[in-house]
C-alpha cells in the first residue's frame, strides 16, 4: 500500500494557502561522478546523494552516524512530505515484521521466545532540513500498510516549505543504530558484522505517490538510484568491505581507522567488518571494462577461495554474454560468519554468501549456488530495480530463473544442485519445482509481498513458481528468443524501476507472440497445471471370436489412450505414444477440453503413453501420472522399499543393541 502527499498538495493549492516554495540551497546538486563505474557518464537518473559518516562500536554493535541526504525532486510536482525507512526498528517485539513473523514465520527464526540479542533499532537523534531548520520534533512514525501503531519502521516529516519541481533538498540527520544478532541478513555474529538497511533511507516516489512500505516479515526493499559517499570508522584490526569503491583508508590516533567508499548509480549501501576476514582479490574483464573482485573469506574457508572466484567468473561471464554488461568497477563477495543468518544477500556491488568447512565438491548449493544467486541480483534488483515489496517475483523469481539457466549451463542440467553427491543428483529445475508444489494454488506470483498466505507460499511462489513458469515459457517461445527477450528487458530497463507489464510486454514484443493466455494463468492467476494419462486400453479387433489367439505382430488391436486435464491451467501439450512393435507417434493436444481420447487400429498394442515427452512443462503438479507404461515395472518402487526396509531393520537392530 502506498500513500500520497499529492492530495495534500492539491488541497493546499486550492485552499489558497500554499506556502512559499523552498529555495534550493546554494551549490547543492547530485554529483555526476563516474569513478565507481566503467562509464564516462552517469547511467541512472540520480535522485539521491547520501553522505554518511559512521562510527562503529564493535563491542556494543552500535553505529553513531551523521547523514546528509541530498534529494532531487524529479517527481514533476512540489513535495512537502518525505517518508523514511528505519528498517532496524523491525527487530523489536511489537513491530509488524515480528508480528507477521510470529504468525507466518521469518527466515530461519521462529521467535518461540524473545531473545534480547535480537533487538535492533535506528534512532533519529536530530533531523534538520537545510534552510528550513531543525524538524526533529516533526518526525512522526507512520504505518502505511497496517494498523500497527507500534511499528516504527517508517517515519514521515512534513516540510514547512515544499520542494519545487526540479529543486533540491538537503536533510541532515544524526542517528544511532543498534544492530541485532543477525536477523534478515543484517547484524552481528560473534565479532563480525554485516551492516545492511542501517541508515534512514528516503522512500521512492513512483506513479504519483510515495512508495515507502513498512518492513514486513519477508519483504525486501525499494529505493532511488544515486550516489553514496560513506565513511566508516572501525577498530584498527577490522577488515572492512562495502558497496562501491574504496577511496581512502586512514588510521586515527584513537586506535580506529576510517575507510571511505564511493558508489555511483546504486540504490543501497551495505558494509561488513570482521577482524578475521582473509582477502582474495581477482579481476574480471567484462565487456564494459575490468571489474575488481574482492572475496572476504573466513580463515577456515581459504580452501574454498578457488571455488568462490571460479563461480564469480563463470557467473559474470554468463551474465555479460547473455543479458548485458556489469558496469560497476567492483564486486565484493563476503563469506559470512559460519552458521550465521547473514548467509546469502544482495546489495549493490556487494553480496554475501555462505560456506562451511564441510562443503563437498558435489554439493553445489554453497558456495556456488548462493554466490551465483546473489550476483544475479546485481541485475535483477541492483540495476533492474523493481519494487521488491510489491513485485518480489521480478527480482527473486527472475533471478531464480537465471540461476537455473546459468547453473545448468556450468554444471549440467540434472546436476546443478547435487552433482552425484553420494549417488544423488538434483538439478535446479527439480529444486524450483519442488519449492512450488506444496503451495502451487495458494497465491499468484503478482501478490504483494506481505499479502501471501504464509512464508512458504511467498517462497514457493516467488522463487520456485516464477522460475518454472519462465522455464516453461522458454519452451514455448524458444530458448534463444527467451534469452534475447531477457537481454532486451535488461538493457531497456536497467537503472529504472520497471513493473510486471514492462517485463511481460518485452517478452511478447521480442517473441512476436501474444502470450496473454499464458501470463493470465501463470503470472496473474493461481491455476494449477495437472495432466494425467487417465487410462490405456488394447482390445483385439476380433475379440468376439472364440478361437482368438493373440500373436504379436499379427493380431490387430483397437487401442485407446485417454488424457485428462485435471487442473484448471489450460496449455497445449505434446504426447508420445509408443507401440510394442517399436513404432512411436506424436500427438498435439490444445488442452482446451477436460479430456481427450486417441484411438489407433494397428497390429500392435500401445506400450506406453507420455504427456509432454520433451519435458517442456515444468510445473505440472504430479509428474508420476504424466505417463503410463502398460507393462508394470516394479523395480523403482522395489528399490525405494528396499532402502526403507534397510533403514528400518538397521534402526530396529540399533535399538535392540542398546536396550536388550
Amino acid at each position: 500500500m502506498s500513500f500520497s502527499c499529492r492530495r495534500l498538495g492539491l488541497f493546499l493549492l486550492f485552499s489558497g494557502s500554499l506556502p512559499a516554495l523552498a529555495q534550493t540551497p546554494a551549490a547543492v546538486s547530485i554529483p555526476t561522478t563516474t569513478s565507481a563505474i566503467n562509464s564516462a557518464t552517469p547511467m541512472s537518473q540520480r535522485v539521491v546523494h547520501y553522505e554518511i559518516d559512521a562510527k562503529y562500536n564493535a563491542k556494543n554493535h552500535t553505529v553513531d552516524a551523521d547523514e546528509t541526504l541530498t534529494y532531487h525532486n524529479l517527481t514533476g510536482q512540489p513535495l512537502d512530505t518525505f517518508p523514511f525507512h528505519l528498517y532496524l526498528n523491525a527487530f523489536q517485539p511489537t513491530s509488524t515484521w515480528l508480528r507477521e513473523g510470529k504468525r507466518e514465520g521469518t527466515r530461519n527464526q521462529d521467535f518461540e521466545k524473545w531473545d534480547p540479542k535480537s533487538y535492533g533499532a535506528s534512532e533519529i537523534k536530530s533531523f534538520e532540513v537545510v534552510g528550513q531548520g531543525d524538524l526533529t520534533s516533526q518526525v512522526q512514525f507512520i504505518h502505511p500498510d497496517d494498523d500497527n501503531k507500534d511499528d516504527r519502521t517508517v517515519v514521515q516529516v512534513h516540510l514547512p516549505k515544499p520542494i519545487p519541481v526540479d529543486g533540491y533538498v538537503q536533510f541532515k540527520i544524526k542517528f544511532r543504530d543498534q544492530f541485532p544478532k543477525t536477523l534478515e541478513r543484517t547484524g552481528w555474529d560473534r565479532d563480525s558484522i554485516v551492516g545492511g538497511q542501517w541508515f534512514p533511507k528516503v522512500g521512492l516516489w513512483i506513479h504519483g505517490a510515495w512508495n515507502c512500505h513498512q518492513f514486513h516479515a519477508y519483504t525486501e526493499f525499494f529505493a532511488d538510484f544515486g550516489v553514496y559517499d560513506v565513511k566508516l570508522t572501525v577498530p584498527q584490526n577490522e577488515v572492512v568491505g562495502a558497496s562501491g569503491i574504496q577511496v581512502s583508508d586512514v588510521s586515527n590516533s584513537d586506535g580506529t581507522r576510517t575507510v571511505a567508499y564511493h558508489g555511483d548509480d546504486i540504490h543501497d549501501f551495505a558494509w561488513t567488518a570482521s577482524p578475521h576476514y582473509k582477502i582474495v582479490d581477482d579481476t574480471f574483464n567484462g565487456s564494459m571494462g575490468p571489474v575488481k573482485i574482492r572475496v572476504l573469506l573466513h580463515p577456515g574457508h581459504m580452501f574454498l577461495a578457488e571455488r568462490h572466484t571460479r563461480i564469480v567468473h563463470q557467473t559474470m561471464d554468463h551474465f555479460d554474454r547473455w543479458y548485458g554488461p556489469y558496469p560497476y568497477k567492483t564486486l565484493t563477495v563476503v563469506d559470512t560468519e559460519p552458521g550465521s543468518q547473514a548467509f546469502g544477500m544482495e546489495y549493490p556491488t556487494f553480496i554475501t554468501g555462505g560456506a562451511s568447512w564441510f562443503d563437498p565438491e558435489g554439493s553445489l548449493s554453497e558456495p556456488e549456488g548462493v554466490v551465483e544467486h546473489e550476483f544475479g541480483h546485481q541485475y535483477w534488483y541492483g540495476m533492474v530495480a523493481t519494487n521488491e515489496f510489491e513485485d518480489a517475483w521480478m527480482d527473486e523469481g527472475i533471478n531464480q530463473y537465471t540461476e537455473a539457466k546459468i547453473m545448468d549451463s556450468i554444471f549440467g542440467k540434472s546436476t546443478s544442485i547435487f552433482n552425484n553427491l553420494w549417488g544423488m543428483s538434483v538439478g535446479e529445475d527439480d529444486g524450483d519445482r519442488l519449492f512450488m508444489l506444496p503451495v502451487a494454488d495458494l497465491d499468484p506470483m503478482t501478490r504483494k509481498g506481505w499479502k501471501f498466505a504464509d512464508s512458504d507460499s511467498y517462497g514457493g511462489i516467488t522463487y520456485g513458481k516464477t522460475a518454472v513458469v519462465l522455464l516453461t515459457l522458454e519452451s514455448i517461445i524458444g530458448e534463444d528468443t527467451m534469452r534475447q527477450a531477457m537481454h532486451t528487458y535488461f538493457m531497456r530497463y536497467r537503472f529504472t524501476h520497471p513493473v510486471p507489464e514492462d517485463f511481460l510486454k518485452t517478452i511478447e514484443e521480442v517473441s512476436g507472440k501474444d502470450l496473454r493466455w499464458y501470463f493470465s494463468q501463470a503470472v496473474y492467476g493461481a491455476q494449477v497445471l495437472d495432466f494425467r494419462v487417465l487410462k490405456v486400453s488394447n482390445v483385439p479387433v476380433d475379440w468376439y471370436k472364440e478361437d482368438l489367439k493373440e500373436k504379436k505382430g499379427e493380431t490387430e488391436y483397437i487401442s485407446n489412450a485417454w488424457i485428462h486435464r485435471k487442473g484448471d491451467f489450460v496449455i497445449p501439450v505434446d504426447l508420445e505414444i509408443k507401440f510394442d512393435n517399436g513404432e512411436s507417434l506424436r500427438e498435439h493436444w490444445d488442452g482446451q477440453d477436460r479430456w481427450v481420447r486417441y484411438q489407433y487400429q494397428k497390429k500392435a498394442k500401445i506400450e506406453s503413453v507420455e504427456i509432454d515427452p520433451d519435458h517442456k512443462i515444468q510445473f505440472d503438479r504430479n509428474n508420476f501420472d504424466n505417463s503410463y507404461v502398460v507393462k508394470a515395472n516394479p523395480a523403482p518402487a522395489s528399490k525405494i522399499v528396499h532402502y526403507w526396509e534397510f533403514i528400518s531393520q538397521f534402526l530396529a537392530q540399533v535399538a535392540t543393541w542398546w536396550l536388550v
Binding site: G423, V426, N626, Y643, S648, Q649, A652
Partner: protein, 304 residues
C-alpha cells in the same frame, strides 16, 4: 592386551560355534523389516509401477523426486507408511528380549542345547529380562539425558568461538563419550542378563550387582573388547555403504538388496559377538571364585 585378545577371540569362537542364532535373528529382522515396509511398498508400487517418471529414482537417485513421491496425496500420510515399520521394529526388540535367554544359555554351554532347553530358558527368564529391560531403559535414559544436556551446553559455548569446526568436534567428542557410556551400561546389563540366565537368578538386582562388580573388575579388558568389536561393526557399516555406493549399479535393485542385507547380517553378528564375549567372561569369572573358595570350605571342615 593379551586378555583383551583372548576375550575377543573367545567371544568370536563362541559366536561362530552358534551361528544358527545369528541366522535366526537375522531372518526375524528381515521378516519384520519386510512386513514393516509392506505398507510403504503398496503405496509406492501403486504410484510408480506404471510411470516413466519413476525412472529418475531407479537410474541414479534424485531426492527431489523422492520427496515429490512422499508428498503425493495418494501416497497417504507418511505416518501410515512409517508406523508399521516402527511397530515391527518394536516387535523385533521384544522378540530379542524374549529369545535372548536361550541364546545366552546356548553360548555358555559346551554342547548344542536342545530346542526344549532353549525355550525353557526363554520362558523362565522372560519376566526377569523385562525387568532388566525397564531398568536398562531408565539408566540409559538418565545417562543420555544428562550427557546430552552437558554436551549441548558445551556445543553452544563452542558455537560462540571463531573456530568453526569446534562445535562439530564438540559434538563428535560428545557422541563418542555417550557411546562409550552406553557401551559400559550395555556391558553391565549384558553381564547381569548372563548371570540371571546361568545362575537362574530370580532377584535381578543381585544380578545387576554382580554385573556391576564384574564390570568394574574387568573394566579395561571388557570395555576394550566391546569397543574393539564395535569398531569392527563400524568398519562393516562404513565399508558396506562405500561398497554399496561403488560397486552396485544404481539400477540394480537385487544387488543393493544383497549388499545391504549382508551388511545387516554382519552387524547383527557383531552384536552377538559382544554377547558371546560377555558370556565367555562370565564363565571365566564364575570359575575363578570356585578355586579360591574351596580351601576356605576345607578349613571350616577341619575346624569342625
Amino acid at each position: 592386551m593379551n586378555d583383551n585378545k583372548s576375550l575377543f577371540s573367545a567371544g568370536a569362537s563362541v559366536a561362530r560355534g552358534n551361528l544358527r542364532y545369528i541366522v535366526w535373528f537375522y531372518l526375524l529382522n528381515l521378516l519384520l523389516g519386510w512386513l514393516g515396509a509392506s505398507g510403504l511398498g503398496t503405496h509406492a508400487h501403486s504410484i510408480m509401477d506404471h510411470s516413466l517418471y519413476s525412472d529418475k529414482l531407479l537410474h541414479g537417485f534424485n531426492p527431489a523426486v523422492l520427496i515429490e513421491l512422499l508428498n503425493r496425496p495418494e501416497f497417504g500420510p507418511m505416518k501410515s507408511s512409517t508406523m508399521p515399520s516402527l511397530f515391527f521394529g518394536i516387535l523385533f526388540l521384544l522378540s530379542s528380549l524374549t529369545f535372548m535367554p536361550g541364546v545366552l544359555l546356548g553360548y555358555s554351554s559346551d554342547h548344542r542345547i536342545s530346542r526344549d532347553e532353549f525355550f525353557r530358558a526363554c520362558g523362565r527368564n522372560l519376566w526377569r529380562f523385562v525387568r532388566l529391560f525397564v531398568m536398562a531403559a531408565i539408566v540409559v535414559g538418565i545417562t543420555l539425558g544428562l550427557l546430552s544436556a552437558a554436551f549441548e551446553f558445551l556445543a553452544k559455548a563452542a558455537d560462540n568461538t571463531n573456530y568453526e569446526r569446534l562445535p562439530f568436534f564438540t559434538h563428535l567428542a560428545g557422541w563418542t563419550i555417550m557411546l562409550l557410556a552406553l557401551t559400559k551400561i550395555r556391558l553391565w546389563f549384558d553381564l547381569a542378563q548372563t548371570d540371571v540366565v546361568l545362575s537362574d537368578q530370580n532377584a535381578v538386582r543381585k544380578s545387576l550387582g554382580f554385573g556391576f562388580r564384574a564390570m568394574r573388575k574387568n573394566r579395561v579388558r571388557l570395555l576394550g573388547t566391546y569397543v574393539l568389536i564395535a569398531l569392527v561393526g563400524l568398519v562393516v557399516l562404513v565399508g558396506g555403504i562405500v561398497l554399496w555406493n561403488m560397486i552396485v549399479p544404481s539400477s540394480s535393485v537385487f544387488g543393493a538388496f544383497l549388499v545391504s542385507q549382508f551388511m545387516l547380517l554382519l552387524l547383527l553378528a557383531i552384536r552377538f559377538w559382544q554377547r558371546a564375549a560377555a558370556v565367555a567372561l562370565y564363565v571365566k569369572e564364575m570359575a575363578e571364585p570356585v578355586v579360591e573358595v574351596a580351601p576356605v570350605v576345607a578349613a571350616i571342615v577341619v575346624a569342625q
